[in-house]
């Protein structure tokens, strides 16, 4: 009993952290702080992955996302002068006012409709979260998901060629 309430408290903490840091990423203009907030979001999500018995997902979330991708972000921001990273996309900015209103209303209504529907439709059903071993995950990846698995390798190859081609000086 005590363990379960501790889990609730832990979950509530992680969820709050995730939402707050996500809001910071979404609305702050300070790029470096935003990256750090993004790290917090991702670590909180990794914690939640652990709570629902998915340690492998939590692990790659920390390694790949928080570890690799965000370090790349930080590196790029440090490489460029933070004050000059203000590369704007004019065609989007031009329509910004009406687009923001429309999208905000749409997103908010989508969120509330789905939330309302979730709360009304989703009854308390009985199931247990089950932890899958890495072997089970891997064997699914190499059988049912072999095609997407191979496609990721080609995607990464393209990304390597592309990053080298684009970033290299003449």
């Amino acid at each position: 009993m005590k363990l379960i309430s501790l889990q609730y408290a832990f979950y509530a903490f992680l969820a709050t952290m995730a939402i707050l840091s996500a809001a910071y990423v979404a609305f702050s203009r300070k790029t470096v702080y935003a990256v750090l907030a993004l790290v917090v979001t991702m670590l909180s999500l990794a914690g939640i992955f652990l709570l629902i018995q998915s340690p492998f997902a939590a692990l790659i979330q920390v390694f790949v996302y928080a570890g690799a991708i965000l370090v790349l972000f930080l590196y790029v921001i440090m490489l460029l002068n933070p004050r000059q990273t203000d590369v704007t996309i004019r065609s989007m900015v031009e329509h910004r006012g009406p687009m923001l209103v429309v999208a905000g209303v749409l997103t908010a209504s989508f969120f509330f409709l789905t939330a309302k529907w979730l709360i009304t439709v989703y009854g308390a059903d009985e199931f247990q979260f089950k932890e899958f071993s890495l072997i089970e995950v891997a064997s699914r990846l190499l059988s049912d998901y072999l095609l997407p698995f191979e496609l990721t390798s080609i995607l990464l190859l393209m990304a390597i060629i592309g990053a080298v081609l684009i970033a290299k000086r003449n």
Partner: protein
């Protein structure tokens, strides 16, 4: 725990051939002293043709693999062939731009092949993750290719715009696919999602499927440049190298449309079960709005464009609207599936051919031909062959009889009338009438205006056109006319392939 290894089958062959050719080109380039663009072009063509041959000879209609994750159904299998053929044409019309802009040829053709591989996979995938990854392969490839020109800010800017919007739409796709995955109770196979639609187990899964389809449709609307998700198209087309714009305009639309049809196929009404037909009606409404908006906005904005590639961008937006009519007809069970598929394929083939033709001529003319429409003044005198190819492509885009575009529109709209989408067809026909103004304006410029001093720029690139480029333009123009004058040949081809 035993692992069941999938057996090696022919279904792999086209994909493996394309990937191997691309990797081979990049590897071989390491051992070359001097750049060899012509060689890489020929190798690329060889890979595409080999993949096409494998499909035609070794993969019969309806074969599936990977536990139903891949299926060469009628639409998908012929769609792969259309994409491979279109890929060949685009490799050919890359000849001039690659040489002129000194693009890194090996990487260019390798990435082009991998993009084609992504598009081919996209049109035969029946599994959410494969669809997602092939969509991403196309996006990543295209924004690398768009930013490939050295020292060109316009290209980099186009690459960045496409990158931001492609990533944005990927976000919608991921969440949408997650909800579909939940709706199918933990399966990413489209077959299982169809099951969830036809025999829903709980209201919860129904809601998941609904939310999933809505989000995935939003993601696809970006890829298909449907209004109101079209804002990036004109900028990207204008800034990217012309053959890359052609990939986006023609091939990526074709594959995206086929994937959208596969994705929405669970919604095709099989009987008048209340749940499913209600769901379908919601989506029909949504698609209707997308189609109508794309036709109206695409045609209207194309009227005022002064640069050729921006005009072509808005014209492809209008054409996406017409293509969406095909999806609407597909969802209706009053028209036979085979007939709808033929109509869509005929339209797609015509669409690919005429777009390759138009972009191919623009690419052949160099910076001037890719810029202002005024530069086309007097082209008929300077290079009559290019003017003729452009005229055929533009007439076909308008839908003038005796061109492939007319046959495509006719078959598609006939099916749409059969299915009762009369209002939309009227709108599409009106849109085509309006489009005649902006397409034929270029023809008027080419044949009836004298070239002013400003158009001299078009002549600076007057070196004789490369053989490959010539062949590409001749093939696409000839096919546009052939399929327009003798539509039976096209139907015959679709039957025997």
């Amino acid at each position: 725990m035993t692992v069941s290894w999938p057996t090696i089958e022919w279904t792999w062959a086209p994909l493996v051939l394309l990937a191997l050719t691309a990797v081979g080109i990049v590897m071989a380039d390491l051992f070359m002293r001097a750049p060899r663009p012509a060689l890489w072009m020929q190798l690329g063509l060889l890979g595409l043709l080999a993949a096409g041959t494998a499909v035609v000879l070794k993969i019969p209609d309806g074969v599936s693999a990977f536990n139903q994750a891949v299926r060469y159904d009628g639409l998908g299998r012929l769609g792969v062939l259309v994409i491979l053929a279109g890929g060949c044409l685009i490799v050919l019309i890359s000849h001039r731009p690659v040489r002129r802009d000194e693009l890194p040829a090996a990487e260019y053709f390798a990435l082009l092949l991998l993009v084609v591989l992504g598009l081919a996979t996209l049109s035969i995938s029946f599994e959410l993750m494969a669809i997602f990854l092939s969509v991403e392969m196309v996006s990543v490839g295209v924004y690398i290719l768009a930013g490939l020109r050295r020292g060109d800010t316009r290209g980099s800017e186009a690459a960045m715009k496409y990158f931001v919007l492609a990533a944005f739409s990927a976000g919608f796709l991921v969440l949408g696919f997650a909800f579909l995955y939940g709706g199918a109770e933990g399966s990413t196979l489209l077959g299982r999602i169809a099951l969830a639609v036809h025999r829903p187990s709980t209201p919860f899964t129904v809601g998941c499927v609904l939310a999933g389809f809505a989000l995935a449709l939003t993601g696809f609307a970006f890829k298909l440049t449907l209004v109101p998700f079209h804002l990036y198209a004109a900028d990207v087309f204008d800034g990217a190298p012309t053959p890359v714009a052609a990939v986006l305009a023609a091939l990526s639309k074709a594959a995206g449309l086929i994937a959208l049809i596969h994705l929405l196929s669970p919604l095709r009404i099989v009987s008048n079960e209340t749940m499913q037909s209600a769901l379908t009606q919601d989506f029909t409404g949504l698609l209707w709005i997308f189609a109508a908006l794309s036709i109206v906005v695409g045609n209207a904005v194309a009227l005022v464009q002064r640069r050729i590639k921006r005009m072509l961008a808005y014209s492809t937006i209008a054409h996406s609207g017409y293509l969406l009519i095909g999806v609407l007809v597909f969802l209706d069970n009053t028209v036979r599936m085979a007939e709808v598929e033929t109509a869509i394929l005929v339209y797609l083939i015509a669409y690919v051919l005429m777009n390759v033709g138009a972009f191919g001529v623009a690419a052949a003319l160099g910076p001037a031909g890719e810029g202002e429409i005024e530069h086309y003044a007097g082209l008929a005198r300077r290079s009559p062959a290019l003017a003729l190819a452009m005229t055929v492509a533009l007439l076909s885009l308008t839908g003038i009889p005796a061109t492939a575009g007319f046959v495509g529109k006719l078959t598609l709209f006939a099916r749409a009338v059969e299915a009762g989408h009369i209002a939309l067809v009227v709108l599409a026909v009106l849109g085509s009438a309006v489009s005649a103004y902006y397409y034929l304006r270029i023809v008027v410029y080419m044949y009836m205006r004298e070239s002013s001093t400003e158009t001299v720029g078009a002549d600076t690139d007057a070196a004789p056109l490369e053989l490959g480029h010539k062949i590409g333009l001749i093939l696409s123009t000839a096919a546009t006319v052939l399929f327009g004058v003798f539509p039976q040949t096209l139907l015959f081809l679709l039957k025997i392939l």
